[in-house]
């Protein structure tokens, strides 16, 4: 009899309940799973607990959310797979600590169904001038602004991965024409067209909506700066579903205050939350949601575990890992 494959679930008492993987989630995922897998043993360890390092030394796979890189650096020889239960992994950068034989995978795609609805709402809120009405209400002002049906408007969506594709799906349901932006332009299913970053700079002024759904890397930090906001069409809408660090927030605040950008709805800020004295809170025509656009409390953990078990089977069979992070591009 072979010993079971050991899986370490890194727990974090500080994390919100909807992100906490518990035994009953594992049981349900195993019951759903139709893949051929060996016997598995799941160890639950607090990321900052005394047993963590020793348990990690025996683990074939590590599963968790937002662990600090320095805690997983002293891993053992058995480790082959690190599965993050989140789509973003910029907190693990740079990846110089990651040995070649360990595949690091995100939970990209887990957010799709929930985000598709949310993004549709955000397009409609920008289109109907909802940020303007919300700002006017604060000032006790009844300030009409009209809008026709949304079909035919244009969205420029930075990022053509899991988030970007879900956002493009929302756009298409509303009749919005989508252009995806990607490091290396190539057709992507779900987008009307896909262009590169340089080309996007030239056509951003044609978009009614500019949407960020791209990873945060050294190359994308502050990609939306004063120049890019200035290139947007006056009155166009802006949304950020990616990371707060993608945006030069001072430039965004200036573009909104000058009424150049018509409205913005952001689910991410830098830092999170913004300090109480941050000017973001009172910026006109800016709506802030607290990093919740993608999180489906019922489905988040189950979908993450389905991706993990699939990747575990792929790892054992020597096949390609889904959502594997490529260290050289940093996502």
């Amino acid at each position: 009899m072979t010993a079971p494959l050991r899986i370490l679930v890194a727990t974090n008492p500080a994390q919100l309940a909807i992100f906490r993987i518990e035994q009953h989630h594992i049981d349900a995922a195993m019951a759903r799973c139709t893949l051929a897998l060996p016997a598995l043993a799941f160890d639950f360890c607090a990321i900052d607990g005394p047993d963590f390092i020793e348990t990690l030394g025996r683990a074939y796979a590590l599963l968790g959310f937002r662990f600090p890189a320095d805690r997983i650096r002293p891993h053992g020889q058995a480790l082959k797979l690190i599965q993050l239960s989140a789509a973003g992994m910029e907190h693990l950068l740079p990846l110089d600590w990651l040995p070649k034989q360990v595949a690091l995978a995100t939970a990209s795609g887990v957010h799709g169904p929930k985000l598709r609805e949310w993004a549709g709402m955000v397009f409609m809120m920008l289109h109907t001038h909802m940020p303007h009405f919300i700002t006017a209400q604060r000032a006790h002002e009844w300030s009409k602004a009209f809008s026709s049906p949304i079909a035919g408007r244009r969205a420029l969506i930075y990022g053509t991965g899991g988030l970007g594709t879900a956002i493009a799906g929302a756009a298409h349901r509303l009749g919005i024409v989508t252009t995806g932006v990607r490091r290396t332009p190539a057709p992507v299913r779900g987008f009307d067209s896909v262009i590169g970053v340089d080309a996007a700079r030239d056509v951003i002024g044609e978009a009614d909506f500019v949407v960020l759904a791209t990873p945060l890397t050294p190359a994308t930090r502050h990609m939306m700066n004063a120049d890019m906001f200035a290139r947007m069409r006056k009155g166009a809408g802006f949304a950020n579903f990616g990371r707060g660090g993608l945006v030069d927030q001072d430039a965004m605040i200036a573009a909104l205050t000058a009424r150049h950008v018509g409205g913005a709805i952001i689910d991410v800020t830098d830092p999170e939350p913004p300090p109480a004295e941050s000017p973001l809170w009172d910026t006109p025509n800016l709506v802030i949601t607290p990093h919740v656009s993608c999180d489906d409390p019922d489905a988040y953990i189950p979908r993450t575990l389905d991706i993990f078990l699939d990747n575990l089977a792929r790892s054992l069979a020597g096949r390609t890992i889904r959502n594997r992070v490529v260290p050289s591009r940093a996502y």
Copy 2:
């Protein structure tokens, strides 16, 4: 040669441009029209102008928006049709001045396509706790609240006419189960079920969303009062697309302030706009839009004129008038 049929277009310099019928709108509508109509002559007269009464005396039909009843009372014998370019007509009540031979028709239905999108946004905003986030932002607070996909939630929609049907259509696209409320319960296309007002009082607590899209009449004034808000499920959402007078605003403010109702999005208030010192502006979890949810600046007048020409042909042929107001029920 017969004299042309005279149509009086009542103009109002105070009204917003998007509601103003102009000659080019008439020309375009006549060009679109495939109905057999006699020669028509359109007179444009300001509702408060010196020629109005005399011109009205010669008119077969009167077309306009929100004219005071006392200006159209002294109409002539030729008048057979009054076509309002709005869905609401509570400003003309009571209808004791309206002779039997004059059909009064609203533009009900003109709002459908635009409202369908808007209502979908409102359902999503209520579902995702957007009023809560907006209120938290005012207080510089980052206050997370989660939501699963919206499908399977329940909406109770008061009113099964043009507005209510468009709202039910929006709900269905999102997978929301709809119950319509109507004076005389009977199946209505587009609703999963339709019940009467008394039955609705008993089941309002099962709804995730309570939506008003009903005319304002003496019977519906303040239909949403403290008792009805108390019957709503704690945390449920409320929306009003009808008229501000349908709601006891003090009761709504109390229900929101007590966090019994989870959020409300209202496009109508009583009066409009609310006075600058009204407590509505600062009520927690309340989003006010300035009576714009239905107005499509590109399509409003064209659709109204299409209804008018159809009703004109119906009137001349002695057929049933679309959207004819029934004086006894006051809508």
